[in-house]
């Protein structure tokens, strides 16, 4: 048993890592960890005035600072019933486009491209790709310039305020932005061709759910008042908790989110999958040219999606500037008196759906809830990482290959500037890994046990026998496979407790080896799932599935009519001892 | 000295003509009711109906930061790139007096080439003004200037009387002589005399500057300084807005990827804590009260003994600027025995309460 992974990914808006636990032939676990400490931003803004909140909340993240600014402002303005002017609305959109240009060009050219061209970093790439590096730097600079003109500075600007803006930029400044956008177009076309033309790795491939803002009016865009899911459902902004279900996981200071009990993906790929058909103009043509169904199942297609969005931004900026300048001059901000209320602001940050919910009581912020894209992606990053690691392991790939691949899978999500991985370590996990995991599972509540297997097929009796033994010991909530069928379900109360299936498994390990696997992983492994799938799909609802595990003992002999082999019997004793502790 | 007349409607034609000669600086509206000298291209931006700009026009001659030299390990090259031909239009008598004070200071013992070069290439086109409640220039006798300008425009509603103070000024008039009339009618003179009288009456503030030098000495240990120190925000604003302040700091700024450094000169302010910092981490004016005392003694006493008059030109900027009411008026009044209702007096009650 060993852990393959990366302690310090080159950032999740800072400092994070990813680790795969490899148990012989099986990747038993993948964890995406945030090494940074908690900052408690949602608590820090309490008691502050709305304007202080709007200054502090965006400090969560430097690269998505404008997204946070737009999200917190939308939330506070919804809470206090403030409608900003059309001019202010347009300027906020220009500012948002600046962030997309800056963030996407940084990620695609500097953080992702070296992976696909085989360089350790973009500066090293400059020797061979001098032109691309130079123009992309200018493009990034241009994105920053837009943020500076609209919001006051590149990072943590303060010109966007509750009610509008502190000051309007000048006409010259905006016309310059428009001119530059037009000048960049030839390079933008190259960017799309480059990133849509890369032959991305075929692993991992899996379906997922995609989630993004519904911009409305059948348009592509980066904010809205509804959340749109690839399954077709829509939720109004205030119902966001029904969608995200944030919960705490012990291995990370970022909370994780699930929808319908399953991981989901937000970000450029989610937007392109959900909204790509709505793209117009040159971007629309490029979408039609390059997009196909394989994008939907492979996270590496976040990269061409980013390229398409760069083009979208460059097409949109001149339109926005033109409309802004056509409108009559008016005061940049609406004066307001704070009033009580609750409001939610939804925007698309470059790396995905960002939700801000803020409440105002007596002129002060009384509650804040912020759900970041990386927190929402965490569960899917782990899932896709797991699938990738398992696939490479199945192909007989070594630790170094797995580590490198995990690195680029994580980076594909651009977890706040680029959880682009770097310092990787491989360390051996302890032999008693399953015991440690079991202890973690038991901490979540008293588990329900289900023993499964064929009692007359040699070692396959192990699951049933262990369950019987536990029943005899008086352990509660223990079921045999056969009892479930008779009872038509478990009939136990659902109070969020974990489910543990006991079974003999064939992972081609030494007989008697014990493994504890989360059900999500079991179901992806056909060798494991054929037997288990019918049972769990009948008995467990999707939510329970999230908290279900397989405790498997490697079988030795599976001969009809023979008893359980000695090594498996010993393993059963160890397991029972552990379970009764 | 010669005085000519110009119809009001000719002003923009005149500005048009002279702006072809040099960079034209003039007061423009900055904030809601504040102004600043800026380079103007569009003459409609010029707002002559202003009282005082936030920064005095010395910023045009000595920018808040500029490079003095480019230096390598072995040699240096002076950098005069901030110096160019300029016309400063719309400058009030107090600010012209401020420049006259700067002239003396920057050439008294050692000549400062950066200031003097800038000054030589700048033409001063003065403009009359109307006092508000902060203007003290009548007390400092700087409400009317007789030198220090190339042209001076006195606004008499539908026409200007234009004083020609130098041959360079005269040259400007000669660019568009048709805009000016040599004959000044009697009723125009009457109008000017009436304007002067009305303006004199419009002053509502005054200070007894004559006694101030002595009072500074006599009240050197007055407890009022401690009170001022308690309130002073040490923000340097009074110093930065003063038309006669001239202290600067010099910094080495190496250039990335190059072999040279820029030797950069930037404004400094004696009211800031680090101004009196010296090697070894010592600071001989760590207390705000000591720094304020330095500033006021310098303005109201040291200048008089050196140059014969105080360094205050009565522009009222420190009064308009200081959020805690520490300014030439309240400090003078206080040293004079009055007890102004200033923030620092109210603060002292608060602190000792």
């Amino acid at each position: 048993m060993k852990v393959v992974g990366i302690d310090h990914l080159a950032r999740v808006e800072g400092n994070g890592g990813i680790h795969a636990t490899i148990d012989g032939k099986v990747v038993s676990d993948v964890k995406f960890t945030i090494n940074e400490g908690p900052r408690l931003i949602e608590k820090l803004v309490l008691g502050r005035t709305p304007e202080e909140d709007a200054s502090m909340s965006p400090r969560i993240c430097a690269i998505c600072t404008c997204s946070h600014k737009n999200a917190v402002l939308r939330a506070l303005e919804n809470a206090m019933d403030i409608t900003i002017s059309r001019k202010a609305y347009l300027l906020r959109e220009i500012m948002h486009m600046g962030e997309f240009v800056e963030s996407h060009s940084l990620h695609t050219f500097y953080l992702a491209l070296p992976d696909f061209l085989g360089f350790p970093n973009a500066i090293a790439m400059a020797s061979e790709y001098g032109f691309e590096v130079k123009i992309a730097l200018e493009m990034k600079h241009y994105g920053n310039h837009i943020m500076k003109v609209t919001n006051g500075r590149f990072i943590h600007g303060e010109n966007a305020v509750v009610g509008g803006f502190g000051k309007w930029p000048t006409q010259e400044e905006l016309l310059f932005i428009k001119e530059r956008a037009l000048q960049f177009m030839p390079f933008v076309f190259k960017t799309v061709d480059l990133f849509c033309g890369i032959d991305y790795p075929g692993v991992p491939v899996a379906e997922t759910q995609y989630m993004c803002c519904e911009p409305g009016d059948d348009k592509y865009g980066f904010w809205g008042d509804e959340i749109l899911i690839s399954t077709g459902e829509k939720y109004f902004r205030d119902d966001y908790t029904k969608v995200t279900n944030e919960f705490v996981v012990p291995h990370s200071f970022a909370k994780h989110s699930l929808y319908n009990g399953n991981a989901y993906t937000v970000g450029p790929l989610a937007r392109i999958v959900n909204l790509g058909e709505r793209l117009q103009g040159e971007t629309g043509k490029m979408f039609q040219k390059y997009y196909n169904d394989s994008w939907k199942t492979n996270p590496f297609y976040h990269n061409p999606s980013r390229a398409l969005e760069i083009m979208f931004a460059f097409e949109r900026i001149p339109e926005l500037v033109d409309e802004f300048l056509k409108l009559e001059d008016e005061a940049p901000r609406k004066e307001y008196t704070p009033k009580d209320g609750k409001g939610t602001g939804l925007v698309e940050a470059p790396r995905g759906l960002l939700i801000h919910h803020h409440e105002v009581t007596d002129g002060k912020v009384s509650f804040a809830d912020i759900i970041t894209p990386t927190a929402q992606n965490a569960a899917d990053i782990e899932r896709y990482g797991h699938i990738a690691a398992q696939a490479l392991l199945d192909q007989g790939k070594g630790d170094e290959d797995i580590r490198r691949h995990l690195d680029i899978v994580v980076r594909a999500y651009d977890p706040c500037i680029s959880c682009s991985a770097h310092m990787a370590k491989i360390r051996n996990a302890p032999e008693n890994d399953w015991q440690l995991r079991l202890a973690e599972v038991k901490d979540q509540g008293s588990p329900v046990f289900i023993g499964i297997g064929n009692p007359s097929l040699g070692d396959d009796a192990a699951g049933i026998e262990m369950a019987r033994a536990m029943k005899q010991q008086g352990v509660e909530n223990v079921w045999l496979e056969s009892e479930i069928e008779e009872n038509d379900g478990l009939g136990t109360e659902d109070n969020g407790q974990p489910f543990i299936l006991l079974d003999a498994v064939d992972l081609q390990e030494t007989p008697g080896k014990v493994t504890l696997l989360p059900m999500q992983i079991v179901l992806q492994n056909s060798a494991l799932s054929h037997k288990i799938l019918p049972i769990v799909s009948e008995v467990l609802n999707p939510r329970q599935m999230q908290n279900a595990y397989l405790l498997g003992i490697q079988a030795g002999s599976l001969v009809e009519g023979e008893g359980i082999s000695p090594s498996v019997l010993q393993a059963m004793e160890r397991v029972l001892r552990q379970l009764s502790n | 000295m010669k005085i000519v007349k110009m119809k009001r409607e000719n002003l923009s034609s005149f500005l048009e003509a002279i702006s072809r000669e040099a960079e034209l600086w003039a007061p423009v509206k900055k904030g809601v009711d504040t102004h600043a000298f800026q380079v103007v291209k569009d003459f409609s931006e010029i707002d002559l109906n202003y009282t005082r700009t936030i920064l005095p026009p010395r910023k045009i001659l000595v920018p808040s930061r500029f490079n003095m030299f480019q230096a390598t390990k072995t040699e240096y090259t002076p950098d005069f790139s901030h110096v160019s031909n300029k016309i400063i239009f719309g400058i009030h008598p107090c600010d012209i007096s401020g420049l006259l004070t700067m002239d003396k200071f920057y050439s008294y013992a050692i000549e400062d080439p950066y200031y003097l070069e800038s000054r030589k290439k700048a033409m001063i086109l003065g403009h009359s003004c109307w006092p508000d409640e902060h203007c003290l220039c009548k007390s400092t006798n700087t409400h009317i200037v007789e030198e220090g300008y190339d042209l001076f425009f006195t606004d008499l509603k539908d026409f200007y009387l234009v004083w020609i103070g130098s041959t360079q000024g005269d040259d400007l008039i000669r660019l568009v002589p048709d805009l000016f009339e040599g004959e000044i009618a009697d009723q125009d003179i009457q109008r000017f005399m009436q304007w002067r009288e009305d303006r004199d009456k419009a002053y509502s503030s005054e200070i007894n500057f004559v006694a101030m030098a002595d009072l500074m000495e006599l009240r050197y240990n007055d407890p009022v300084w401690a009170k001022l120190g308690e309130a002073c925000l040490a923000c340097g604003s009074c110093t930065n807005v003063c038309p006669t302040c001239n202290c600067y700091n010099v910094e080495d700024r190496p250039v990335l990827g190059a072999e040279h450094s820029n030797i950069s000169r930037c404004w400094d302010a004696c009211t800031l804590e680090n101004y009196s910092g010296v090697a070894g981490g010592e600071n001989f004016r760590e207390k705000r009260a000591d720094r304020l005392k330095l500033w006021y003694t310098h303005k109201l006493q040291a200048y008089i003994s050196k140059y014969g008059k105080p360094a205050c030109v009565g522009c009222g900027r420190c009064i308009a600027t200081c959020p805690v009411d520490i300014n030439i008026k309240t400090v003078s009044d206080s040293l004079d025995g009055a007890n102004p209702d200033a923030f620092w007096n109210r603060l002292s009650q608060e602190v000792t309460k």
Partner: protein
């Protein structure tokens, strides 16, 4: 070209928004010069071939917020001749450092419940000088671009960085903004270290204090001034403490004692 004679630099991120490291990448037009001027040994955000060896200069961003970060920071100190506190979080602890130990513990519990973190233990956020000696401080949220380039270029040439701390008001006056304090708006310019170019007042927005406390700031006076302008004591304290980390806490304690007398 051999990197042997170049200064070995490491750029590290602890807990924060990563804005200061990002600021380096935002020097787009100077970026190649920066990478050429020094030997950047470690910079997670920008490169993958990072080495943790001996360094001439370490720039450390972020506050110390986990036990693991304490260890990392101590290790960086051991390996580096010069350690620079890079940005607001490293210099004063950032917004996350303004809770008292007690408030922090309570709030952590409210956010994360009873879940025990398995990967590392969170600790009350502190500036880096709470654990190690710091040679230079470069405040900012994030550090200003000019501020960084000046600093970096001097250090590269072996010169100590210029340190001439002034409050925001100085640049704000240079920029000839309306004084917001005089208009009755609670601007923290006089209390706040300059370096941002007075960006908020330039936009008619009051200074929120995000560069952290200015050296020699007169808190007493501004505190009373805002009170006189009609703001209540709690609102003033909150505003002043938002970005000052733990630095203004002592000051408020004094007032609490005085008021309770």
């Amino acid at each position: 070209m051999s990197d042997n004679n170049k200064l070995k630099i490491g750029i590290y991120e602890l807990t924060g928004c990563a804005g200061d490291a990002l600021l380096i990448l935002d020097c787009e037009m100077e970026l190649l010069d920066i990478f050429n001027a020094v030997d950047i040994q470690s910079f997670l955000m920008a490169k993958s071939d990072n080495i943790d060896g001996d360094l001439d200069v370490a720039l450390v961003e972020g506050s110390v917020s986990t036990e693991r970060e304490i260890e990392e920071l101590k290790d960086i100190r051991k390996r580096s001749s010069i350690v620079v506190a890079f940005g607001l979080c490293a210099t004063v602890g950032g917004i996350q450092a303004r809770f008292s130990e007690e408030e922090w513990t309570q709030n952590l519990k409210e956010v994360y419940g009873d879940t025990e973190m398995t990967h590392t233990k969170a600790v009350h956020s502190k500036p880096i000088d709470a654990y190690i000696n710091v040679d230079f401080y470069l405040p900012g949220c994030p550090v200003g671009k000019d501020q960084f380039l000046n600093f970096f270029t001097r250090v590269v040439q072996g010169a100590p960085p210029e340190s001439y701390p002034v409050p925001v008001c100085v640049t704000c006056k240079y920029n000839e903004n309306d004084c917001l304090l005089n208009k009755g708006i609670p601007c923290l310019g006089p209390l706040t270290a300059d370096g941002c170019g007075s960006v908020c007042p330039n936009h008619d927005v009051p200074c929120y204090g995000c560069w952290g406390p200015a050296e020699g700031a007169n808190l007493t006076s501004e505190y009373h001034l805002l009170q006189e302008k009609g703001f209540d004591i709690e609102a003033i304290k909150k505003r002043m403490s938002n970005y000052s980390g733990s630095k203004f806490q002592e000051f408020f304690e004094q007032f609490k004692n005085k008021e309770s007398k």
